[in-house]
Each structure stands twice: as structure tokens, then as C-alpha cells.
């Protein structure tokens, strides 16, 4: 864990938005791409914060403050990037949400922003979304892609139910499943389906152009 990641994590934990923003600006000025910033700085800082809890050095309340600070920074970062980077519209739509009772949404938010940066129209529905809301939104808005995320084995039990219901949608959107457990366990046996399991954010970056070209959907 490099010192910059620790510094960034400390800023998040203490709610120092401005200091954290300075660090993000340094990364932008160093020519880092969004994917690099999301993976190397932000995701690693969040993993480090999780470790601090494991080591009993912080409390869950501290984690919540860090999440809220990080959420704000992501929105600010994206807005900043969009100022001088006007991408052509991709004429594609993607919708993102976390399974019911799942509160960890920052990874999914970064995924959503990667899509938006490529000119996709996105809707980020956030944490803890019951299936009926997801289905209503999916039926009326008809996204090309639906991305869902979970981080606990308890939420994983519901995965197959969500996937089965989303596969029934008449317009057959592509389904992406992400979350920190994906590289650790094989969930494909829980789902009958064509759902694509995303282990890292860079998988999304690789998958997106392939999907847009209408070729093989698998990463």
C-alpha cells in the first residue's frame, strides 16, 4: 500500500474533502486516466479502510464518513473531467444498482462513471434496491446494460432471483455483475444465465467497446 493511498484514505476518514480533492487533482495533472485513478487510488484506499476495520483501528461509523466523502469526491471528479472532455454520445443506456440490503455502492458508482465517460447515458440507482423498483425502472427506461453489485455472501443468496427476473425483460439487456467477492467465489453456478461477472473495473473498460460493436459479450 503506497503512502499516497494511505494519505488519501486518511483524508476520507477524517472527512477532509479539500485535501482529498488536491490529491485527485495531482493524479489528473500527472496524466492518469479515470480507470487508473479509480483502481489505483480510490479502490485501494477503500480496501485499506476495510483492513483498518479488520484490524480494529477504526469503527463502522468512520467507514460511513469515509464513504460519504468519497461519494462526493467521485461526483466532483467526474464533473471536473467532463468540463474539458466532451465525449460523443454512444447512444447507449446503462443502469446500475446494488442488491437489497447491500450498502457498498462506491465500486458500482465508479463503474457507472466509466460508462458515462464513454458517452453512455447512465442511471445510478444506488444501494439497497428492492427488485420491484429495479424492474419498474428497467421496463420504462429500457437500458442496454444493467449493472448490479453486492459485497456480502448474504446478499449473494438473492443474486439468482434478481438475475432470473432481469432475464425476463422483453428488451434483453446485457447483465453485468460486480463486487469484491466475484474474484473469490464462483457465482456462475447460482445463475443459469448469460450474466457477465466483472472482477475488476478494467474488465468493464475492455468489455464496453466490444459490446458497442455488437460482438461477443464475454470479457
Amino acid at each position: 500500500m503506497n503512502s499516497q493511498v494511505k494519505h488519501f484514505a486518511d483524508c476520507l476518514l477524517s472527512g477532509h474533502q479539500d485535501a482529498a480533492w488536491e490529491l485527485l487533482l495531482e493524479e489528473i495533472h500527472a496524466g492518469k486516466s479515470s480507470l487508473e485513478i479509480y483502481q489505483q487510488l480510490i479502490t485501494n484506499a477503500l480496501i485499506y479502510i476495510g483492513q483498518l476495520w479488520e484490524e480494529n483501528r477504526i469503527k463502522v461509523a468512520d467507514e460511513h464518513l469515509a464513504s460519504a466523502t468519497c461519494d462526493f469526491l467521485l461526483s466532483r471528479y467526474f464533473f471536473y473531467r467532463q468540463q474539458d472532455n466532451k465525449t460523443q454520445p454512444a447512444n447507449k443506456k446503462a443502469m446500475f444498482f446494488c442488491l437489497e440490503q447491500e450498502q457498498h455502492y462506491l465500486g458500482l458508482k465508479m463503474a457507472s462513471l466509466l460508462f458515462e465517460e464513454q458517452g453512455w447515458e447512465t442511471r445510478f440507482l444506488g444501494p439497497n434496491l428492492p427488485l420491484e423498483y429495479v424492474l419498474n425502472m428497467a421496463e420504462s427506461w429500457r437500458p442496454d446494460v444493467i449493472g448490479l453489485s453486492f459485497t456480502t455472501l448474504y446478499s449473494a443468496d438473492k443474486l439468482s432471483m434478481y438475475i432470473a427476473a432481469l432475464e425476463e425483460l422483453a428488451h434483453s439487456p446485457a447483465l453485468l455483475v460486480g463486487g469484491r467477492l466475484i474474484p473469490k467465489y464462483d457465482f456462475s453456478s447460482d445463475t443459469s444465465s448469460s450474466a457477465i461477472f466483472i472482477e475488476k473495473l478494467e474488465d468493464i473498460q475492455r468489455w464496453m467497446p466490444i459490446f458497442v460493436c455488437g460482438k461477443d459479450h464475454h470479457v
Partner: protein, 256 residues
């Protein structure tokens, strides 16, 4: 066992989930209250969420010193509730007390969640308003260039508002399509209602005129104001059209 009896009497009626464990965290005794919160278990670790177990072991064994920390535990109501767990070791026994953090933490989560939702709703509202606004703008641009039949040979297109690239691009298909359908010989573009003209707009307009010419219709531009003349001249585009000062003269000339 003598020690066991002493332990039992010391914790049974405490108003919190309390446990006495051995050095391997096997439960030797528990308070009545723990039975209301947790299910049965032989070892204290069975009550801890599987992903918190390593932390629990480190925290509770910790050289058999007193310790305090947060653990996610499986209760009768929820597979992972957050508890503050405190342990105190005396001789070979560990005395554990568990306090649920539900209320204070849920209040915090709810407040943060409400803030987040309000922000995202505002986002969606703004987003939807922006979409509606863009749609209105498209409609306005379409209405800013009606294609009017004056005679069998002549059509009139009065342009309104800013003559920019979008105004032409959005309407050029309709103009060329109408011109081809009516087989017109000339199309009069009237600039009386035009405010500003951009260079890109003039470029696109020049291309439109060329397309019409290829289809056999010549273009006439009327109503060019002095402030337009500068842009029209300096746009670096060759506008292949006749310029007539007033619309009345153009109509008089073409419809005879």
C-alpha cells in the same frame, strides 16, 4: 464444577448478552439475555458473521488481554448486526459482553442515505428537465425553418433565430426532401427573422445551397442585414445564391 457454578451465578441475570468462554472461545456460560438475541452455539465464533471471524479471533484472544472492538454478528433477527464486543480475561476465563449498535448506527446510515437520495433525485430531476429542454430546443429549431410553397416553381423558407450549425443540420433533410418532392426551381431563404449568424452556421448553409443546386433548385437569399453581411462575407464559404434585398422584390421576380 465449582468454578462453573460461580460463573453461572455471576452473569445469568445481567441485562446484556454476556458470555463466559474458555481459551478456545467455547461458551461455558451465557446470560439469559443472550438467548433472546442470539441462537444456540457451542463456540462464540459461531455467532460471529463468517467474514468477521478472523477479526473476532484476533480481538478476543489478543494475548488474553482485555479488548474492545466492533464485530458483525448473526442475531435471531439479522444475519449481521453490528455489536461492540468487550472481553476481559480472568485466569483461564474470558468474560464477554456484547452491546448492539443498531440504533445509533442506523440513525447515521439513514441520515447519510437520505442526503444521498436527495442529491441523486435532484440529479435526476435536473437531468430530466435538461432532456425536456433539449427536446423543446429541437422543436423550436424545426419551427424556425418552415418550408412554404409559394407557387409551383417557388418555395419560401423564412429562417428565425440564430443561424447556427444545428439549425441547418437539423432541418437540411426536410428542406432537400421537400424541394425534391415539389420539384421547385427556386427556394427563397429569408433572413429577416435571423438574429445572429455563426461561421459554422454559414458553412452548413453553403452546403445546403450546393445540395439544392445539385437537385436543380437555385437559391435566393433575402433580408440580409448589415450585421449579417460581415459574417456572410468572412465565413470563407462560397454561397452559390442570388442575394436580393427584400423578400417582396424576390417574390415579385420569381412569381410572374
Amino acid at each position: 464444577m465449582y468454578a462453573g457454578r460461580i460463573i453461572m451465578s455471576s452473569i445469568e441475570f445481567l441485562p446484556y448478552p454476556c458470555f463466559v468462554v474458555d481459551q478456545h472461545l467455547y461458551i461455558m456460560e451465557r446470560s439469559q439475555s443472550s438467548g433472546f438475541t442470539f441462537g444456540p452455539a457451542m463456540n462464540f465464533l459461531e455467532l460471529v458473521d463468517s467474514e468477521s471471524r478472523k477479526k473476532a479471533e484476533r480481538l478476543l484472544k489478543n494475548g488474553f488481554k482485555s479488548a474492545e472492538g466492533e464485530l458483525k454478528m448473526a442475531t435471531k433477527d439479522s444475519p449481521f448486526s453490528l455489536f461492540t464486543v468487550r472481553i476481559n480475561w480472568h485466569k483461564e476465563w474470558g468474560y464477554i459482553i456484547c452491546t448492539e449498535k443498531v440504533q445509533s448506527l442506523n440513525d447515521l446510515i439513514e441520515t447519510v442515505e437520505k442526503q444521498r437520495l436527495r442529491l441523486s433525485e435532484t440529479n435526476f430531476e435536473l437531468f430530466e428537465k435538461k432532456e425536456a429542454l433539449e427536446e423543446s430546443l429541437r422543436n423550436i429549431r424545426e419551427l424556425s425553418g418552415p418550408f412554404i410553397k409559394l407557387s409551383k416553381q417557388t418555395a419560401l423558407v423564412p429562417l428565425f433565430g440564430t443561424l447556427d450549425h444545428l439549425l441547418i443540420v437539423q432541418n437540411e433533410f426536410r428542406f432537400t426532401h421537400e424541394a425534391a418532392k415539389g420539384d421547385y426551381e427556386q427556394v427563397i431563404f429569408d433572413f429577416h427573422g435571423v438574429g445572429d449568424i455563426t461561421e459554422e452556421g454559414m458553412g452548413a448553409f453553403g452546403q445546403l445551397i450546393s445540395q439544392l443546386k445539385l437537385m436543380g433548385a437555385r437559391s435566393i437569399v433575402t433580408g440580409v442585414k448589415p450585421q449579417h453581411a460581415f459574417v456572410v462575407n468572412n465565413a470563407g464559404v462560397d454561397i452559390d445564391a442570388s442575394f436580393i434585398k427584400s423578400l417582396r422584390d424576390a417574390i415579385k421576380e420569381t412569381i410572374q
